[in-house]
Each structure stands twice: as C-alpha cells, then as structure tokens.
Subunit: 276 residues, 2 copies
C-alpha cells in the first residue's frame, strides 16, 4: 500500500482539511494533494469531487481561497485537490516558465522527452489518485464528480468526458486548447504533433458525450477569455453533438478566485444533485 | 480631500473587493486598506464592519481566505480591512521581527522612539480610516461594528470598548497583552513602561463596558491559547465588570484562517443584528 505522509491538518466546518505527499508510480516522483473530509465522512463513505487547479497553483489555492468547504460540509461531499504537476523532477527546464513544467501539467500523459517519464498527469488524476484516496479515506469512488478552473477546467472537461464521473463542471476552462497559445505550447512540448484531440474538450465532445448537463461559469471580463479560453468553441461543439450544457456568462467577473468563490456554492449544489 | 489610489478591484458575490493606498496624516506615510462593497451599496449607504488582522497580515489575507464576502453580500454590510502597520517607513528595525514593526502595529499610538512618528495605528483605525471611507464610499459611519483575529482581536476589543461601535467580536484575541510575550514586547517598544492599560482589553473592561454582548470564538487546540492569548483572563474580567460576553471555545480548531472561515458567518450574523 502506498505510503501517505501527512504534511498538515486543519479542522474546518466540522470536517478537516488535510495535505499529503506520497510516492507516485505513474509520475515516478513524489506527488502532493489536498483533501477536505466533511463531517459526514466520520459516519459513512461519502461521494467525492475532484477539483483540478489552474496554472501555478498547488493544492492549497483552492482549499484556502474558494470557500468550498462550507458547501462540501453541508452536502457531505469530500473534496480532493491534486497538485498541478510533478515538481522537482530534475528535468532542466521544469521551473523556467509558469505555463510549462512545474505548475503546468495540463492533465495529459506526456509522450515526448524530457517530460514523459514524470508528466503522466492524466493517469495520475483519473486512476492513481482515486485509487489512493479510495484506499485511505472513507470515500465512495463510484460517486465521483470533477470540477476545475482554467487549465484545470480544461482538465475537468477532458477527464469528465473520457472517464467515469457522474458530474462535470468548470470555471473559465481552456475549452479549446489546440487553438489557444497556452494549450499549443504545452501540447507541443508534452505530446509533440499528435494525440491532441483526446485532450481537447471541443474536439472530444463530438465523439464522447455524457448523459447529464455540464455546468460552466465564465467571467465576462476575464482577461483570458478571447485569446486563451474560447468557451464559445465548446458551446458550439456541444450544440452540434447534442451534449447538454449549462453555460453561464457572468457579467463583471474576472479570472480570479474571487470569481470562483462567488459561484462555488452553485457548483457544489450541482454536483450534489448528481452524486447523491 | 485625501487621494485614494486604487491598486486592484475584483467583482465578488455581486459586489466588489477593492484595494487602495493613500497618504496617511496620522501615520505620516502611505497606508493600504481593502474594502468589500456589497451589492446593496449601489443603492444606499450601508453599515460597515472593520476587520483588524493578525501579525504579518496585509489587507489581502482576510478578503482572500475568510470567506466573509458572501455573508456581507447577504446582510448588506461593507467590510473594511486596514493594513496591520505602516510599512517602508525607514525605521531601521521595522522589518527585523515578525512580531514588531511591519505587520505588527498592535493598534496602539506609539509614544516611544523610533516608532512614534509613524506607528499611530489606534488613531488611524478609529478616526482617520473611518473618515476616509465615509467620504469616499456609500458607508453609514454611524452603524459600525468591529472584529479581528489574534493581534487584531486584541485591537477589536480595545477599539470596541473605547470607541463608538455597535458590535464587537473577535477570533482568538490576544486578550490580555500586558501578560503575553507578544504584547509585552510590542507594548514595551511602542509605549515604554506606561499607558498599557488603555490597550489591554482585560484591564480596560473593568472601566469601560458596552451595552451589548461581545462575541468571541477561540479554537481549543490553538497553539497560542495558553501562552499568548489568555482569553480566560478577559472572560473573568467581563464577569467581574458585568460585561455581557458570548465566549465560545471551539473544540478541535486551531489559529488559522480555516478556523476563521468556519465561524465568520456566525460573526456576520451577530454584527448584522446589531447594525441593522
């Protein structure tokens, strides 16, 4: 059994925020994650919501800034927040750019050197981490939802469409990474010139749909909206594919955690309805 | 009129989180504060809750981590968060210790060199800043409450007992600073060997009471409880003075913002009842 090392624990809304490190088989290095266990987890296994964070984030950002724990406590849902990449792998360029390497794993399985030995984030997030938390915490893995922000919104849509999740939502996702400068840089480095479609929600939804509505919130004054996020491409692709989508353009909101905090309660209620 | 320089603005729960800098007369240097204006402030002047932060904090910590904005939006209360000290004053030792100088103003008017020229935080928080926000934002200064955490809990109790506030609450306050190592170090430097009683809530409440109950939450596993905070001294002093106090010892909680976030909703409801 994989050894978990607890790095810190804080009581919060009657449950607990906990941070861990563990050796990861698929990433070949130590990985970090955060978890919120609601009070109900002391009595019985609870459903789980994975939250995938955006560029530069650690597992702390979401648990510190989003204000999700109160809603998770009310609904009885565990929150699991993976780190956004392996770190300190020894890859020479890993800390050079904020949008590549450390903090920028993009939730793909890298096929290219020098990344492929460690940057297996798709498998980590969809297989290794769920198995790990299922084995160590009172979590019912059969009731899992996924959510994310920006790069993590991209990850949530892709993991959600390809995997076994009962609910999918996103804040300001990079919705068509193959057409976005962030996505093109990362996919080019991690994947070379092939395999992009399986990691691009706008391309993927033509072939894979889910039988529940996806929820997306997007700030209308988000500085990355036009050049990096392009949610309108995903909206159109869902329309063509017959995928039910609740896309909400939120006037006056930007890309920050103040935006996420304003609507995370709606997202937790959405996930609770599908997970309970 | 004092010039405010806006440094950033974020829409949040239908209102806005805004950060400012301005020249301060009483501190003789530039000061920073944060404000949350709830949606109701677009229609009419709203009551205000000042939140005084703890050691090392800037105005950002509370607005980023406490999750108070949703409750302020619901209740229609503005939040005003001063910085915890002047900064970059040129005083040689200002950045040497985390518990003295920058980030550690202790909400007193310093009488001693080298601090007294800039460290006039009591006047800043109780007079200059209220006048400034009253002149620049739709805030009804006659309906003001005060809250704080740790060093800021001390500040909230002291300002609240001495000033004109309609409601007072605190999280883990340094309740008897004259008997606490943090308080003794700061008071010794800022005040020399006199005038401590007017800045010590436990001593002050013997002479000044308010005609409403004070609310205090304290984590039972707070690492600073026994040696630095000593709320039991304030509880006993309130008892002797006939001051109504709702002191809640919260099992399992520590000194962190995860603790504050867990109970900030209760505090906003308490303040709203007294401010509306």
């Amino acid at each position: 059994m994989t050894e978990l090392t607890a790095t810190s624990r804080y009581q919060c809304f009657g449950g607990s925020v906990e941070f861990y490190q563990h050796p990861s088989d698929c990433c070949g290095t130590s990985m970090a994650f955060g978890i919120y266990l609601p009070p109900q987890a002391q009595q019985r296994p609870v459903p789980v919501l994975y939250f995938l964070s955006g560029l530069t984030c650690t597992p702390e950002n979401f648990l510190t800034k989003a204000g999700a724990q109160q809603f998770a406590a009310r609904q009885g849902i565990a929150l699991v927040i993976p780190d956004t990449s392996p770190r300190q792998t020894g890859i020479p360029a890993e800390d050079q750019d904020y949008d590549l390497g450390s903090g920028a794993g993009f939730y793909v399985n890298a096929t290219e050197e020098p990344w492929r030995q460690h940057y297996q984030m798709y498998d980590y997030v969809t297989v290794e981490l769920p198995n790990l938390v299922g084995a160590n915490f009172p979590i019912d893995l059969s009731r899992a939802g996924i959510c994310g922000h920006s790069m993590g919104g991209h990850g949530a849509l892709v993991c959600g469409l390809r995997g076994n999740y009962r609910s999918i939502s996103a804040f300001a996702p990079i919705a068509n990474p193959s057409a976005s400068p962030w996505g093109q840089k990362a996919f080019g480095q991690y994947l070379g010139n092939q395999g992009w479609a399986q990691y691009d929600a706008t391309m993927l939804v033509a072939e894979r749909q889910v039988d529940f509505p996806i929820l997306i919130d997007q700030g209308a004054t988000d500085q990355f909206l036009v050049n990096q996020l392009m949610p309108e491409k995903f909206v159109a692709a869902c329309d063509r594919a017959g995928q039910s989508l609740n896309f909400r353009m939120q006037e006056g909101y930007d890309h920050s955690y103040y935006f996420i905090a304003s609507f995370i309660g709606d997202h937790l209620r959405y996930h609770a309805e599908l997970l309970m």
